[in-house]
């Protein structure tokens, strides 16, 4: 299953339950494009802390259409990972997320579809 093609949703910076709507919006964006496999990747300053699941809970409980995978990565790996993207990704900026993305090269920015704050 994990070797299948997934639409990527990268959540950058911390999020909490109030950010649920943003995550739902990201999922809807993926579904509208016809995707039925979506990977949510959370870039966190403290991986292992599951507080972002408070926001993700509603997304997971309401979803019935798509396979969803939820991953965590340390925020330090964001820059390196951004340099490897080749296809469009959906980006949800958490706290400080927009600031972290500002320094990205134009090529990378052109591949990001940002779900707004």
């Amino acid at each position: 299953m994990l070797s299948q093609r997934f639409t990527e949703v990268w959540v950058i910076g911390e999020v909490d339950e109030t950010d649920s709507e943003l995550l739902k919006q990201a999922l809807t964006t993926a579904l509208v494009k016809g995707s039925r496999r979506v990977r949510f990747r959370f870039y966190l300053s403290a991986p292992g802390n599951l507080s972002y699941m408070e926001a993700m809970r509603h997304v997971l409980l309401e979803n019935v259409a798509a396979s969803i995978v939820v991953e965590e990565k340390p925020i330090e790996e964001l820059k390196r990972d951004l340099e490897t993207i080749r296809d469009e990704i959906i980006v949800v900026p958490g706290r400080d997320g927009l600031r972290l993305l500002n320094d990205s090269p134009q090529r990378v920015k052109s591949l990001m579809k940002v779900v707004g704050r």
Binding site: N49, H58, L61, A65, S67, I68, V69, E71
Partner: protein, 514 residues
Amino acid sequence: MSQEKFEIILTTDRTMMSNHHGREFLGFMATGPPIGLPESLWMWIAAPKMKTDEVGRPWQAPYALRKLEALLQDKGYNAAVIDPDHLNRHLPNAKILMLSHHDYFALCPPSSEWWVVTKQEPVNSRSFKRLMNRPEIAQAKRRGMKIIAGGPAAWHWLYKLDYWMKWGVDTVVDGEGERIVLDLVEKVYSGEPLPRYVFVGPRDVPTIEEIPEIKHASVNGLVEIMRGCPRGCKFCSVTLRPLRHIPLEKIEREIQVNVREGVETGLLHSEDVLLYGGRGIILNPDALIKLHRLAKRYWKSIAWSHASLAAIKNAEEEYRLISRIREIVCDEGQDYWGVEVGIETGSVKLAKKIMPTKSAPYPIEKWPEIVEDAFAIMHENHIVPAATLILGLPEETQDDLTATLELLDRLEPYRSLIVPMFFVPMGVLKNKDWFTTVRITEEHVEVMRKCFWHSLRWAEDIMDRFYLKGFYAYPVRLLLKLFLSYVRRKERVVEERVGIRRIEAEAVAQKALR
């Protein structure tokens, strides 16, 4: 003594790793707190320990664990289902601990309901927490063992982030696990990080060919005959999965596994047994006759997991199918069989909103008549149903509850247990608010009371005439009778204290029993 140790351990707590004295409905007692009895005695009735071999492999295990055990062994992994009392032997060596459960934290019905009503934590949740709090598991985690949790109650972990972090569960899997589990195991063995949560959507469920066959006995011989359901009820998560009928040859091989390991009774598992081999809701009598003849060739007795009331009515009225199945099933070794059925509501208005095709092929406007006709058919054919009602559905009104009360009156003469359950958001209703104690109305209380007295008066009949006959069942039957007597007294005390009128229908039902 065998030195065999396993790298992948599949397990669950005692309330699940039990065959409930060969009576799976006794397992429902594990969804409640210990009322009127010490917990140890309650657990002995509901979930006695399972026999194991010298390395801790249980004689019978939950079917889902058996499926994954078979899958992993087929792929060459050193994996086994291990009884929870024998984990210590294997934990020091284990790379992965896989968990499954119907109700990890007692959030499902009816556990959540019993918890709200009694204010005591049900034993299933207590038992699971005891398992996970074992220092040996924490030790194994510190050594690097991964924990993967799945099963129908996987969603519980989303509400229990504190336990998720405390016990170091690495990944939670929600949905049919056959494809994703292999991916996760490969990641562990290659040292790659694991995802936190996986929901297996409709596109990633296994095909029939990808579904493995169990290699060892399942609890009370449970064998699946189908996956998915076409009815589309909004409160149900299973209906969201594609419909797949398991071929008879596969079913037979799994029955043979059970019989070879000494499990001579069985349970045909499906969301609606009567839809086996059919097209959508159109029944296939030939397939059902073949299925039951096959099962009866091997099993001394058969039970059904679930059937829909509309299919029961349709099966008998159009094909005389229930009577024909009874001729196959009932013999000197068996004079009844049990099944779980869903009434859900007696209100046509509410039924149209949440389950418009539950009544198919009949119109939903006929729902109360369908329910009563199906109950009559079951009563005549010695099928003993445990029926569910859902309280607190979204948009439920007082009129809906009144309609449910009227239907309950009509069902009094029919042998059955009827259990009301508080709404727990699942299926497409997963985003709805939970029903909590603050929303219980007088009408809800009246529904619960009617169900209580109905089930109490029929429970003794069922126990004595069908479910716990025979000398060997005497100790369990005695304890259950003491328990029923206790709750009958307690209920009357509660009713008198809060001023609820004692139900006159009890006298009517006593007449019906004579």
